[in-house]
Symmetry: C2
Subunit: 482 residues, 2 copies
């Protein structure tokens, strides 16, 4: 970061990135010139060129924020990324590894020695090491554990013992706990001796002798309230705290609702275990959204823009194979009714509309239900009214779209019976679609599963097969052998 106010960070970063890429390309060019020359000092000259460029890259990135360097590394193809990383890793601490995406982190770590990783970890807090833990090779992780002091090791193990969706996995230990029988003045003295408060410290946590949280003391009250007041008289007792084993999604909603910056994390007895801060919550929200978006498109995990082709391919094949399987199901339904199609070939072109519209409508319903479930708006008291509303809506939509598709069919083939069959099939398939679109998320939620997982693919599989089936069975009943 520049030593003055930073404006327009996006353009600034693009600019930096461009300069670094130019440097790297120049380095390649100079190296290839040396290769072509007849000098006998090839290797020496090449080393010299690399050293020079490394120094220039170091200089460029020296004052930048680790999050910005992370973005630059993410934007570079593998070979250039490795080259920049080799130039700078000596100068920077582990923060950069925290900031890059999981996929990019693996490419950076894979080239590092265990000793280097231990040095990196030494600059990180327990909660930060926990973030890296999944990507660290086992030997390095053991060495890091051994390098920690007792408290840090306990903290690290605590965080690692919670699942990804539990509050415990997202907390840190930067809280300041105080007793309620002290004066504000004593607290101010204590802070002055500390010299610095951990980031995001907007309140201190007030605990009793059993470490049970009794209240919170907003830092600003140290400035606005009389110094001789006791903490007990200045603290807030109406505050939000989180259970260490509860759901992070619920906690993130609470952060939004109550505009929190930090909050105590406690165990089942109310003992203070750590704190949750708004920056971890933002990371959690982003991660969840990205995951949802990627999983909806069937990309199994976060992908490095420049990961190897085989790796990317494997990451996407699982989903594609599932889709082949479900498409095969509809294929078999059509195959079974080939005689109907031979008698009325128009069906081959009209069926896909009925199938596709079912998928679209069902998807609208299921997305709204999934979202309302996430917001906590759906509960046993209103779910019946909601189902009734969506089904009535399906009838209305079905009549509307059914009539349109029926009329289109008639315009294309001038066959009233055919138009009637296609229109009716449309109506029936939309009812099927909305029923499925309601049922999948509601049932998954009822049985404690994530309502969004797999909703779209199951829905499309059913509406496709049913779309073809309904058209063909109605055609067989009413149109064949007229």
């Amino acid at each position: 970061m520049d030593s003055s106010a930073q404006l327009d960070s996006t353009n600034f970063l693009q600019h930096q990135l461009h300069d670094i890429v130019s440097l790297l390309e120049k380095q390649e060019l100079e190296k290839s010139l040396v290769d072509k020359s007849t000098s006998s000092h090839h290797d020496l000259e090449e080393t010299l060129i690399v050293k020079q460029h490394q120094a220039r890259i170091q200089e460029r990135l020296a004052d930048m924020h680790s999050a910005d360097i992370a973005l630059i590394l993410e934007s570079l193809p593998l070979d250039q990324r490795q080259s920049v990383w080799n130039s700078i890793k000596g100068d920077h601490d582990g923060q950069i590894l925290l900031e890059v995406s999981d996929a990019v982190r693996q490419t950076l770590i894979s080239g590092m020695k265990a000793e280097e990783l231990v040095t990196f970890a030494s600059s990180l807090d327990a909660d930060e090491i926990a973030d890296l833990a999944d990507d660290l090779p086992k030997p390095a992780m053991l060495k890091i554990l051994r390098s920690l002091n007792n408290r840090e090791r306990t903290n690290l193990k605590t965080i690692l013992s919670y699942e990804d969706d539990q509050v415990g996995a997202f907390m840190d230990f930067g809280m300041i706990a105080i007793r309620d029988d002290l004066s504000l003045e004593a607290i101010i003295d204590y802070i002055r001796k500390l010299g610095k408060l951990p980031g995001h410290t907007d309140k201190l946590f007030v605990v009793d002798q059993d470490n049970i949280v009794k209240g919170v003391l907003p830092v600003q009250r140290l400035l606005t309230h009389a110094p001789e007041l006791q903490v007990a008289d200045a603290m807030v007792t109406d505050f939000v705290q989180f259970r260490i084993d509860h759901d992070t999604a619920d906690a993130s909603r609470a952060f939004e609702r109550y505009d929190l910056i930090s909050a105590p994390v406690v165990d089942s007895r109310g003992e203070l275990q750590g704190r949750l801060c708004v920056d971890s919550i933002i990371d959690f929200i982003r991660e969840k959204n990205d995951e949802e978006m990627l999983s909806k498109a069937g990309v199994e995990e976060d992908e490095d823009l420049f990961s190897g082709i085989w790796k990317s391919a494997r990451n996407r094949w699982g989903w594609l194979l599932i889709n082949v399987a479900t498409a095969l199901a509809s294929t078999r339904i059509i195959g079974f009714y080939e005689d109907v199609i031979l008698q009325l070939v128009a069906l081959a072109s009209l069926m896909p509309i009925v199938a596709a519209m079912g998928g679209n409508t069902g998807n609208q319903t299921s997305i709204l239900i999934i979202r309302s479930l996430a917001l906590g708006q759906i509960n046993p008291d209103n779910v019946r009214r909601l189902i009734k509303k969506e089904l009535m809506l399906a009838v209305l939509n079905g009549l509307f779209i059914g009539i349109i598709v029926g009329v289109l069919s008639w315009l294309l083939y001038h066959d009233k019976a055919l138009a009637f069959v296609v229109g009716s099939a449309m109506l029936i398939n939309l009812l099927v679609a909305v029923t499925v679109g309601l049922s999948i998320p509601l049932l998954r939620h009822k049985y404690g599963r994530d309502p969004a997982v797999g909703a779209s693919i199951m829905l499309t599989a059913i509406t496709d097969s049913m779309g073809f089936f309904i058209v063909l069975i109605l055609a067989k009943m009413f149109l064949v052998g007229r």
Copy 2:
């Protein structure tokens, strides 16, 4: 909120909601009993019952946080929602209106008089009134404007003059600006006189005589640094600020990257205009994500769970009609080749696989590109390498899926030529899909549009039509008339 620490807010809210619904149902029951009785004081008795229940509901909600009441209102069907709202709106300020979703806000406001709305607005800051402005009826808005003092009116107009995606629309005016020639002691005295700092005040903004931001003073430095120090010596000059007319999405990424709680907002000359806080940023991130998710499913705007059926239907028809239109295009392609299908009816069942798989693969590519664009990872320097990688991946995927689909076709119909045609069509359609999946977001981004808008529907329209077309044209060339 309870007057003690609040744990597990989700269950607490579900519990409250259930009690309120029970109260409302009991009220209905009692009213219907009065209706059936032969008493001559019907109306009087009914009014009494309603008053009693209103008092009970008021009592239940009296201590709750406005965000929690908002969630309860969102979860209630229209009639019950109105009944609860009528009971409590006298006791609460405008915060509840801020917290409910846009769709629900409209249902609440529609039943209110202009005077009531002005009273509500009087408890809100300019930036909060701006959030409501879209949903307020014009006469009420004019009355509110007249009720404001000059500074508030100017502030409100400033915010309203920026677009939804600009920093100016999300800022507030709760900043504290100080001069750099004061001592920290003087600042502490000033804060003590204020008695309270605005929420999210983690730093004070240091400005010169022209109101240009020179630095920021973290509030904690008032506690950790010597009181006789001058602001100029204690302030941080390496800080992040935002231009009022810049993109909020960029600002939200900066908040994430630099873990900000608040930051100054300045105009093009660097003059302080307001501040941006992390709570607005979280709201922005959520809103954007919800919008994206809903628009991908073709729900035009946020929907009240219990909005009228006609309103919901209209909200979803636009998308469904577009889909009918694109489906019609593929229909026409199939219709054109009906003779081919009549000669080889197996095509009718095999074509949909080729079309569907194209859509799935193209979608994977476009989602990854859209995400990388949003993260700022794609730039002129690496875009060519990225395109090359995705195209190579498409060839690999195409061969893999093409062979699988070819083998399946052969197993089903024992026709080698047919299997070869279907497999080749699969490969070609995947190449088309990935090309389109790359081009739409990259081109939209290049011309300054949102890369995500409409990507999925255009992609599916093209891969569907092309899937059918490629199968049929290859079949006509190689299979018909064998």
